[in-house]
């Protein structure tokens, strides 16, 4: 027994000492989608040049934010990628520190709206997406956000749930189509509530939406451009609407956790991810639309992304502070008027 114990202790000691001997480690918290591609295009190439190991933590934003908050005193995560409003929420809770953008050689190459979307350099935008309406062009024509609630689409349309990233922007555009851009979203929520019986479902994942379209449960739905690839080759004539009120969308940002002690390596990684080379690779593989303005891609690729200064400038985005400040009130209204 004693011999087994001694052997086990020796192995444990050997493992721990080898861990100490390992290179530097960078722990990142990211969305779980396309991680195989991220590993190949971003993480592995960076590991090769930094002589370090990247530890990847994935999950939905709530789980990841909760983890960052729970380890506030001794951060486990060094850098994270979040939506702008989640990042602003984390910043307000004191979980983040400003990013030293002067040490990011690629910062100047970013589109202006990606340079400091949260203020005080609390985050740097690394990708955008447009949100518009994907629809069956053989069944309907969509020229306005208000067409979502038209008689032609009654019983054949799905809308994003208020709790998703696409939900509030969609309601914002519905309000705009109604001539009401009040951030309380009261008018569009009321309107959706009146039409609730005509809406097949309020979806929570774009993957779910692709299946509903495939099964002909729905003919139209608002969706982020990043999901377009799931629809365009589904065997039906599909179109991406360019509504007269414009397109909305969102941006994701990189953030630095407060007091993580690994700032230098995290900055190096952020700079690498924002470089023209890596942003181009991600764009070419249709993973993320570039925030780096120097990225050039072919028309074919561009057609599947949210690409180019004009497109980026034309997006009608809700500000992160609006989303963060109004979220509870929107949810309450939604639960009263829509989910009865």
């Amino acid at each position: 027994m004693l011999r087994i114990f001694t052997a086990a202790s020796a192995i444990a000691l050997a493992c721990s000492s080898s861990a100490f001997a390992a290179d530097k480690t960078l722990t990142i918290s990211v969305y779980s989608f396309s991680q195989d591609e991220f590993q190949e295009l971003v993480y592995s190439p960076f590991e090769a040049i930094c002589d370090c190991k990247i530890v990847v933590e994935t999950g939905n934003s709530v789980e990841r934010m909760a983890k960052i908050e729970a380890n506030k005193e001794s951060p486990v995560i060094d850098m994270a990628v979040l939506s702008t409003h989640d990042a602003l929420g984390a910043a307000r809770k004191g979980l983040l520190q400003p990013i030293d953008v002067s040490s990011l050689s690629n910062h100047d190459k970013l589109y202006d709206i990606a340079k400091d979307p949260l203020g005080d350099n609390m985050g740097v935008g690394y990708t955008f997406y447009a949100t518009s309406i994907v629809y069956r062009s053989d069944k309907v024509t969509v020229n306005s956000w208000s067409d979502l609630l038209s008689p032609e689409l009654a019983g054949n349309v799905a809308l994003p749930d208020i709790t998703t990233n696409q939900g509030p922007p969609t309601l914002h555009m519905l309000g705009k189509a109604m001539g009401n851009t009040d951030t309380s979203l009261a008018a569009p929520i009321e309107k959706v509530g009146e039409s609730a019986d005509d809406i097949v479902t309020f979806y929570v994942r774009s993957s779910q939406l692709a299946q509903l379209m495939q099964q002909e449960e729905i003919w139209a739905a608002p969706v982020g451009r990043f999901a377009w690839g799931r629809f365009k080759d589904n065997g039906f004539p599909m179109a991406w609407a360019e509504p007269e009120e414009g397109q909305t969308g969102g941006m994701n940002v990189m953030v630095m956790t407060a007091n993580n002690g690994n700032e230098e390596l995290a900055l190096q990684f952020m700079d690498f991810w924002l470089s023209t080379e890596i942003q181009t690779a991600l764009a070419m593989n249709l993973i993320d639309s570039p925030a780096n303005s120097e990225v050039t891609v072919s028309d074919d690729i561009a057609a599947n992304l949210t690409y180019g200064a004009d497109t980026v400038a034309s997006l009608d985005l809700l500000t992160p502070s609006t989303i963060l400040d109004m979220r509870d009130s929107w949810l309450e209204q939604w639960n009263t008027k829509v989910v009865k």
Binding site: N60, V62, T163, V200, Q215, E216, V339
Partner: protein, 275 residues
């Protein structure tokens, strides 16, 4: 069983400690959240929860669907269990295996299959249109009907298994004796089978009711946010609103409902027995 009671206790201790430390304690802490307010201990969170018309709807829907699934599965379960125990032993084993088979398939896969079957171009609608019963496909997905069908399929095997076990323990000749004494089939069921299998019904009923009430995947996929149930509401409160107090309130309600269902079923079974 053990000559020395201490040995028995010592054997129970590791499992009991494990359950207490890693289950009872965390659950207790979580649930106490729902009684803690800034001003001290209070039931205000519960009052607030039930004041919302939406929450009332969700609570009643959960109760209704849970009870409906339990009742229908009891009816179907008795018929299936009776048929199974009437078979010769070899066939009985096979049938029992077939009933248990769905339990070995992930609920996610089973629920996704319903998404296809119940869809507008799915098997059910095609059959109804082809046979001329309806002219255009009807909407089944994202309705209470879809959630009911999904939950029934998910939990019916638990009821059948509980009832088969109970019926196998029934004296072989009880039914024949009742028949010889002139009872019709309804009387045989009501006065002989039901009292003798009440333990199975209580266990099956509790498992099905509790399972249906606390299921997440099926209502989330087949009902979506238009058919919220307590479990899907709980998820929404935690992941979106970060509202752990409401989530604790819901968890407590679910626990109380599960215990109440068990007590109620036991009560009904005992009352029947005493008559």
């Amino acid at each position: 069983m053990f000559e020395n009671r201490a040995i028995g206790l010592a054997l129970v201790l590791p499992a009991a400690t494990f359950a207490a430390a890693l289950f009872l304690l965390p659950v207790g802490i979580l649930l106490s959240e729902a009684f803690r307010t800034d001003a001290g201990w209070s039931v205000w969170s519960y009052v607030e929860f039930f004041q919302s018309p939406r929450n009332q709807t969700v609570f009643l829907r959960t109760l209704k669907l849970g009870a409906l699934v339990a009742i229908v599965s009891a009816f179907v379960g008795y018929a299936a269990a009776f048929a199974i125990v009437s078979l010769p032993p070899t066939s009985r084993g096979r049938m029992f295996g077939l009933v248990a088979l769905p339990l070995m398939i992930s609920p996610v896969a089973r629920t996704y299959a319903w998404l296809v079957i119940l869809g507008r171009t799915g098997f059910v609608n095609r059959f109804l249109v082809d046979t001329g019963l309806i002219e255009t496909p009807i909407r089944i997905l994202f309705t209470e009907t879809a959630v009911f069908i999904g939950l029934l399929q998910l939990f019916l095997p638990l009821m059948v298994i509980s009832l088969v076990s109970a019926m196998e323990n029934m004296p072989r000749d009880a039914i024949a004796a009742a028949r010889i004494l002139g009872a019709n089939w309804f009387q045989v069921f009501w006065r002989v089978i039901l009292p003798l299998t009440r333990e199975g019904l209580v266990i099956g009923g509790t498992l099905v009711f509790t399972g249906a009430m606390t299921a997440y995947i099926t209502p989330a996929i087949l009902g979506g946010s238009k058919v919220l149930m307590l479990e899907t509401l709980l998820y929404q409160r935690v992941t979106v609103a970060n509202d752990f107090v409401a989530a604790s309130v819901i968890a407590m309600i679910l626990i109380v409902m599960a215990f109440s269902a068990n007590l109620l079923l036991k009560q009904i079974a005992t009352a029947r027995n005493q008559r």
